[in-house]
Amino acid sequence: MYRLEPRKEISYLLLYLTPVFAIVLTILAGLVLFTLIGKPPLQAISIIFFEPLGDLYAVSEMLVKATPLILIAIGLSFGFRAGVWNIGAEGQFVAGAIAGGSVALGLYEVEGFWVLPLMCLAGILGGMAWAAIPAFLRTRFNANEILVSLMLTYVAILILSLLVHGPLMDPDGMNFPESRIFHDAAVVPILIEGTRAHVGFLAALVAVAAAWFVLSRHIFGFQTKVMGSSPRAARFGGFIENKIIWKCLMLSGGLAGLAGLIETAGPVGQLVPSLPVGYGFTAIIVVFLGRLNPVGILLAGFVMALTYIGGETAQIELNLPKAVTGVFQGMFLFFLLGIDVFTKYRLRHIKPSKTVAGE
């Protein structure tokens, strides 16, 4: 028989290889799945995973999708290290979009280099404010942040819908539930001419670099690691749990809010009820696939962006539902979590016991 046995030291080689194995296993499982539902398996996999890599347009679209994923995931990774489970990044994304978008609409047709930075600030603050609710309720009333942040996601989406049906509705929009289209000073500039790739991606890169520094060289990174691994040791080290919870939620809320604003003022260009497309949830997978590591998150953000674009293409070419993206994302995470065990444990063959069986 086989048995799991703890390793003396974590296998770093396996730690970095598991995401690769997970991707391979997901592709294999995808082949089986497509065969089962009667779609051409090889073609489907190729459409989802490989074709988008081939042309500039698809690559630029990957940048567009990867930007919010990376921004949100970087923020979440600190909390996930510390055991602060902010599951409501989607809501903070929407809150940031509402706050920043309101600034843009309030300054409609006002020109000035400061309009966009002000919107970004409002977006960050909006996301932070939304994340402050679970932070306050957790630290003051001990309420579970998973459930609170998640419930607030539904609330934020309903508020967005309320606003674009009312106060923020485009006065010339023939009663469509949409805001005005943002004016030029309130739009994120394009990075690659002729595509939708925008400079927001640079913000994501800055976030990755900053997170790498904080994690390896700053006391806050150390604090989150200690608190996630053993809360009592964190107390022994003089780290105050409530402060860490607040910092983690503010950081993830702020970055999710920024991502929301960038998405609104970038590819979308206005506030619409269909703004939230699940980036806040997919970012959770990005965090795990990236091993809670900033560089890993950067790569994982691209892989997940790929599944979005592949999913969209598959929808058009193979008449698959959009949800196929979710299936692949879920499988990714399953395989990753499942083989993760081997970084900490090894499989050992156990010889059957030589003792005499009982009477």
Binding site: I87, N142, L150, M151, P321, A323, K344
Partner: protein, 306 residues
């Protein structure tokens, strides 16, 4: 009067899926496992139940399929978290995302289709009693099953040796292992039970509440079920009460506009979510009591050396 009865019946219909999901999760958590994938198991149950009923015309087959789908999903969760020791929070989330995706994929062929709603069982004579009759004795069989389930779980946990062992595993898995109980075995059984319950709860949505298939039709009910378990302080009777409370909020929200109150639909739709948050805060406020009620090993990984 008729409207009141209609609303009360509506509450029962709204609450029943929550009763199923919450009672299943309650057993799982009493065994010390936190399965955040209820939403995923419910939606799988919803599509499995709908698809099989639609194809075979048999409600019973649909409900069994739903329970089976939930159980399979829970088994997947169990293998990952109990055998491969994966993080329970992450695995639960993965199950939710995966479940929503698979259900949408499977449901593509059924979108827009509908079945007849499950017939109510009118209990002979009793259902003819005015007011009480329609309220208590004229429901579909799943409503009765949900009540029986709550009573059964309560009896199981408090009166049987197996229930005692389950509670012991949730209280101190190391001690349970030392005495010689199979921690992983007990937890697997609890998870499968929880998965079946969540699956049936999901099927109730697609077979009774709105007898048709809509993507994402669970709309966060799996998460509300989790909140109900906390609200109930892990006691079955209170979980029933909690589910009816949330069912009540949902239904009254639908009827408020009917009473001529002028409130935006979105604000009303927020009500169940906000009520969930408020209830969570009220219940969790007392840290010591919260600690006393919660199973001590909830969500903690177990590695049994032998």
């Amino acid at each position: 009067m008729d409207l009141t009865i209609l609303i009360l019946q509506g509450i029962i219909v709204a609450a029943t899926p929550l009763v199923f999901a919450a009672i299943g999760e309650l057993v799982v958590e009493r065994a010390g496992v936190l399965n955040l994938g209820i939403e995923g198991m419910m939606i799988l149950g919803a599509i499995a139940g709908f698809a099989v009923t639609y194809d075979t015309g048999s409600f019973l087959a649909g409900v069994i399929a739903a329970a089976f789908a939930g159980a399979i999903a829970a088994l997947l969760f169990g293998v990952l978290t109990q055998v491969l020791m994966a993080n329970q929070v992450a695995t639960g989330l993965a199950l939710t995302i995966f479940g929503l995706g698979i259900a949408a994929l499977w449901g593509q062929a059924y979108s827009g289709a509908s079945t007849d709603a499950l017939d109510a069982i009118h209990i002979y004579l009793l259902s003819d009693i005015p007011i009480i009759g329609p309220l208590l004795f004229s429901h579909d069989p799943l409503v009765y099953l949900s009540i029986i389930l709550v009573v059964g779980v309560s009896w199981f946990l408090n009166k049987t040796r197996a229930g005692l062992i389950l509670r012991a595993v949730g209280d101190n898995h190391d001690a349970a292992h030392a005495i010689g109980y199979s921690v992983v075995g007990v937890r697997m059984m609890a998870l499968i039970f929880g998965g079946m319950c969540a699956g049936i709860g999901g099927a109730y949505l697609s077979l009774v509440q709105t007898p048709l298939w809509v993507e994402n039709m669970t709309a966060g009910r799996g998460w509300i079920a989790l909140a109900i378990v906390v609200f109930a302080a892990w006691r079955p009777g209170w979980a029933l009460l909690g589910a009816y409370l949330f069912g009540g909020v949902t239904v009254i929200q639908l009827h408020i506009q009917g009473f001529g109150v002028d409130i935006d639909a979105q604000l009303l739709s927020m009500l169940p979510y906000i009520v969930t948050i408020v209830v969570l805060v009220v219940i969790s406020r007392d840290k010591i009591r919260a600690k006393l009620n919660a199973p001590a090993c909830l969500g903690k990984p177990f590695f049994g050396s032998s």
